[in-house]
């Protein structure tokens, strides 16, 4: 094996770093095809072809927790991290699972994680999984409520209802960037759903 082959030998345990599945190693392996006489790609896949529901749920929980770790690094405090993990365990709980329930979509969860890192709520949302697998996050403070539907590539649908200074507000929309979303909801910080 060439020197280039040797130095990219070890495959990290987590194959998806921020921004999709192109890891440096994979990228380098890609460009080293002409150097190496035999090249290969390492993949991880379930042990059994027919995995049980419990195992599939574990895989899905692990995927979401890995994304939480990789995106959150040391930005998430331990309390928020635990709350997020509790919610992940709850939405993918084998005891509550029904045959028609959907697994959580990873790309949707990445959008949620990016929102959490940038909006910096002090508490995790209540989570649900929609029929197509996208995540629905809800923050509440009394009757004030902020609901966020997360899709791939930072797309969101959002809805808020709150009473501020005696005025009832109901507002919602579709956002194609997280900056735009955060700008739209920032006037409603006083609604308290993020418990700053």
């Amino acid at each position: 094996m060439s020197a280039l082959g040797k130095i990219v030998d070890y495959q990290p345990a987590s194959l998806s770093v921020i921004g999709g599945r192109v890891h440096a190693d994979q990228f380098i392996r890609g460009i080293s095809h002409s150097v190496l006489s035999e090249d290969s790609t390492v993949i991880s896949k379930p042990v059994e072809e027919s995995r049980s529901t419990a195992e599939k749920l574990f895989d899905n929980r692990a995927e979401l927790k890995t994304i939480t770790a990789q995106y959150g690094l040391s930005y998430l405090d331990s309390k928020l991290r635990k709350q997020l993990f509790d919610q992940i365990d709850w939405i993918l709980d084998v005891d509550e699972w029904e045959a028609l329930d959907s697994y959580a979509d990873q790309e949707s969860f990445k959008t949620l994680m990016k929102f959490v890192l940038n909006a910096k709520p002090a508490q995790a949302p209540y989570l649900n999984i929609a029929d197509d697998g996208h995540l629905v996050a809800t923050w509440k403070a009394g009757d004030n409520k902020f609901r966020l539907e997360c899709y791939a590539n930072d797309r969101t649908n959002w809805f808020l209802s709150c009473t501020l200074d005696g005025e009832e507000e109901k507002l919602g929309g579709e956002a194609r960037s997280l900056q735009r979303l955060i700008d739209r909801i920032s006037p409603f910080k006083a609604a308290g759903w993020f418990h700053y």
């Binding site: 070890y10 390492v42 574990f58 895989d59 959150g72």
Partner: protein, 250 residues
């Protein structure tokens, strides 16, 4: 030999995406031994196969076109902790690695875990080694409205002409260097989309490994791992600027 008493710098917000220790052995375990090992861990870990997919493209006569053939082969297992998915063990017929994802809990904890699973893998009987490596993959998130001067944060960077050169949207740096008679330092560095708004993120990946003159017993192995860690820390500290390191304490 006396243990290293050197104080290590720690940061409030370490940028570590994944910390890894890997040990490779000269002899291969039989697949039955590997399966037996794995079966003992099924309550504590979720187990996945690691497979290598090999793609061979053979070009015949131009008019016949190229033919592609794929082969899949089991090379080991990936064990992910049931508790928090932050601890990952990769077990192969001739290798053991442990990875820690955030939150990083320090070298001592990583080494403690390594010792535990090393004893499990070797059944407490020393096995001849073929390579030892320590790899830390960091993601440096730099506040930015678009442009960043990489040289303000790193002492290793792609050098370009100062005038009339377009901004680099992406770059990839890879270097390999012998750092003493036996150890090899590999650096991988490249930009990735940042999860933080108004930030640019750069992966800074350091790998220090040794393939020759390897330990002959467990004590020597653990001592060498500490030495490799010292080297890794030295290059981390040396290759980042004070402005960069400030990001980890802010």
């Amino acid at each position: 030999m006396a243990k290293s008493q050197k104080k290590h710098k720690s940061y409030k917000k370490p940028p570590i995406v994944e910390a890894v220790i890997e040990i490779r052995f000269e002899d291969m375990l039989a697949s039955t031994q590997l399966d037996k090992l794995i079966s003992k861990q099924k309550t504590k870990f979720n187990v996945q196969k690691i497979e290598e997919v090999e793609l061979k493209i053979s070009g015949g006569q131009p008019e016949a076109g190229a033919q592609a053939e794929t082969k899949t082969r089991l090379v080991g297992y990936k064990l992910t902790s049931n508790l928090n998915a932050s601890d990952i063990i990769q077990v192969k017929a001739n290798a053991l690695s442990i990875s820690r994802l955030p939150p990083y809990e320090g070298w001592e904890n990583l080494l403690k875990d390594l010792k535990h699973y090393y004893n499990w893998y070797t059944n407490k009987k020393f096995k001849s080694l073929s390579r030892i490596g320590v790899r830390y993959i960091n993601r440096i998130d730099i506040p930015s409205d678009g442009k960043i001067k990489v040289e303000d944060y790193f002492k290793i960077f792609p050098h370009v002409p100062q005038t009339k050169f377009p901004d680099m949207n992406h770059f990839l740096v890879q270097t390999a260097a012998a750092i003493d008679d036996e150890k090899l330092l590999t650096i991988n560095m490249h930009r990735v989309p940042s999860p933080l708004l108004k930030h640019a993120s750069i992966i800074f990946d350091l790998d220090v490994a040794q393939q020759a003159n390897l330990p002959k017993n467990d004590d020597q192995l653990y001592q060498l791992l500490d030495e490799i860690r010292e080297k890794k820390d030295f290059f981390f500290e040396t290759l980042l600027t004070p402005k960069c390191k400030k990001l980890f304490n802010s």
